[in-house]
Symmetry: C2
Subunit: 301 residues, 2 copies
DNA sequence: TGCTCCGTTGAGCCTAACTCAACGAAGATG
DNA sequence: CATCTTCGTTGAGTTAGGCTCAACGGAGCA
């Protein structure tokens, strides 16, 4: 029943990298793990095959004859597999998914994370189209759509909430000292005229007239205006992190208003099992989960 | 820094087996896992590469072109690695370790497990020599010794307790009905004359004379005598499990006397890091830990 | 003699991968 | 044509392999 006896392939990969570099530390760098992990992996492999593969010295690693033989085999074997993955992508040309997304979400969230998708899923190509108008995102012109939606299930649609809509006020950092709600100019988005009244009510702040102030076509423009010092805009928390970190805007008040809606991935329920859709979902879910852990704009400047 | 991008090699192995067999169930059999594990692994791989590798039907699996390409590559790659392991064993001829072991332990514990060692560590060959005399096992004539020892560390020796010494009485199952300690014949081992007095005292059983009865050269012979219905012998729990399961002997009393000593692997402390010794230790420790979970004589009849 | 670099290791944690059990779909059988 | 069997999938929960962190020891270097 046993066709082939293989050691732990994880340990084997550790060994192969360590042997190729003649260094535990460099192998750890290549594999993005700690040197300790590589050291343990190699030890485990040596124990499994019952033979020393390296002679260790502080200067570096020297392969034993057995190690040389195993290095050749594992390098060729892993190379063959890696080459096969490339060949496979030609047998299956990149899968192109047409994605429709809300403009602000695309520019502040999706695009900054784009590189990681290309790296981790080379077989997936996204054709991104954006719209500031939620209605345009509804029809079947896209394979999948990222829109603002509540958690309510929709017949025939699979939905995956990604990023909660939470509003918070932002102003130019220059205006932060002595900021006064009664004298502040509220910057509105035409699409979301109720945002300010709701936020102010939830925060328990009273102003002369919550509907006063200039109206902009989109939240993005209101945000730009706030950064320019024109007044205070309501931003979506998850989408202004980088602006705050970069010092473009700052929060004059700590209250964040939660809502029941999220930026949500929506696609045809029948395509749930399609690996391309599964990959897209998994990637988006992972990125959404690491929200706040590290911002891509910080780590990949 | 990233030399090669590889998917999860565990998932890849699942896929390769499933693709080769054109069957999840058969692949699971080969890999000694459940079909669910293989199914999940393949799904994860498909998601990782973003491409369907199989088209599923109840009749079986059919590979997509991408799956064909990946099967070829992974099969060749894994074959190359497996072949390299064989070649490696020729570069490093089997390591032969001279093992000295207490006779009863060797026959009742070590030998029944021998096959699993040969299977899991083909690079390790044990040269087993046994003795019923503990003194013969001490000197440096062996690479490692399995002897009765307490947990006290010994200078210059590495020790690994394997199986605790616990004594329990056994008789022929035929004598079990109406067994009476006052009329029973105690079968003694010459090497361990104190065993019966100690066990009886610990169990709180009084007999006319705990030292009466025939003396045999070894526990093994006393055990044989008990099985023949000559009387009641004191056996070591871990070594009579199979005899009890096979109905050769039975326990007339549930009490098991624990001691501070164990069958213990002993070897030169300096050879602790030697992979062959590490492999031997790991194998013995694993076998000792599965003690009672399944007896090798049951599963490999 | 002290510094630095490198590999190892003890302790503890985390998550990928596994098991178990239940389920639905597609032949096979009577 | 109902029933049974086989096979792959999947939700829930568990486990252990592999990882990190931090501390340590030995070898070369200043």
């Amino acid at each position: 029943m046993t066709y082939r006896r293989l050691p732990s392939l994880v340990a084997l990969r550790n060994f192969e990298a360590a042997a190729r570099h003649r260094s535990v530390t460099r192998a750890a760098g290549e594999l993005h793990v700690t040197p300790g992990a590589v050291s343990r992996g190699v030890r485990a492999l040596e124990e499994e095959v019952g033979t020393a593969l390296f002679t260790r010295s502080a200067a570096g690693l020297v392969l034993t004859p057995a190690g040389e033989a195993l290095l050749a085999a594992s390098k060729e074997g892993l190379d063959r597999i890696a080459a096969g993955l490339v060949a496979m992508r030609q047998a299956a040309p990149p899968r192109r998914l047409r994605i429709g997304a809300y403009t602000l979400f695309a520019s502040r969230w999706l695009i900054p994370r784009w590189n990681r998708l290309r790296e981790s899923h080379p077989g997936l190509e996204l054709d991104l189209q954006t719209s500031a108008d939620p209605l345009e995102l509804l029809p079947g012109a896209f394979d999948a759509v990222i829109a603002v939606a509540d958690a309510r299930p929709r017949l025939g649609l699979f939905s995956l909430p990604l990023v909660p809509i939470e509003t918070m006020p932002v102003i130019s950092p220059a205006l932060l000292p002595g900021f006064d709600w009664h004298r502040a100019t509220l910057l509105h988005s035409r699409q979301r005229p109720d945002d300010w009244p709701r936020w102010l009510a939830a925060a328990g702040i009273e102003v002369p007239d919550p509907t006063r102030g200039p109206r902009f076509e989109s939240i993005a423009l209101a945000l730009d205006a706030a950064a320019e010092g024109l007044g205070v805009a309501l931003a979506i928390r998850a989408l202004v992190g980088a602006d705050i970190a970069a010092g473009r805007v700052a929060a004059p008040h700590p209250f964040i208003r939660s809502t029941t809606r999220s930026f949500t991935l929506l696609h045809d329920a029948e395509r749930k099992a399609d690996p391309a859709f599964a990959a897209l979902r998994a990637w988006l879910a992972t990125e959404a989960a690491r929200e706040g852990i590290d911002d891509p704009r910080q780590t990949h400047p």
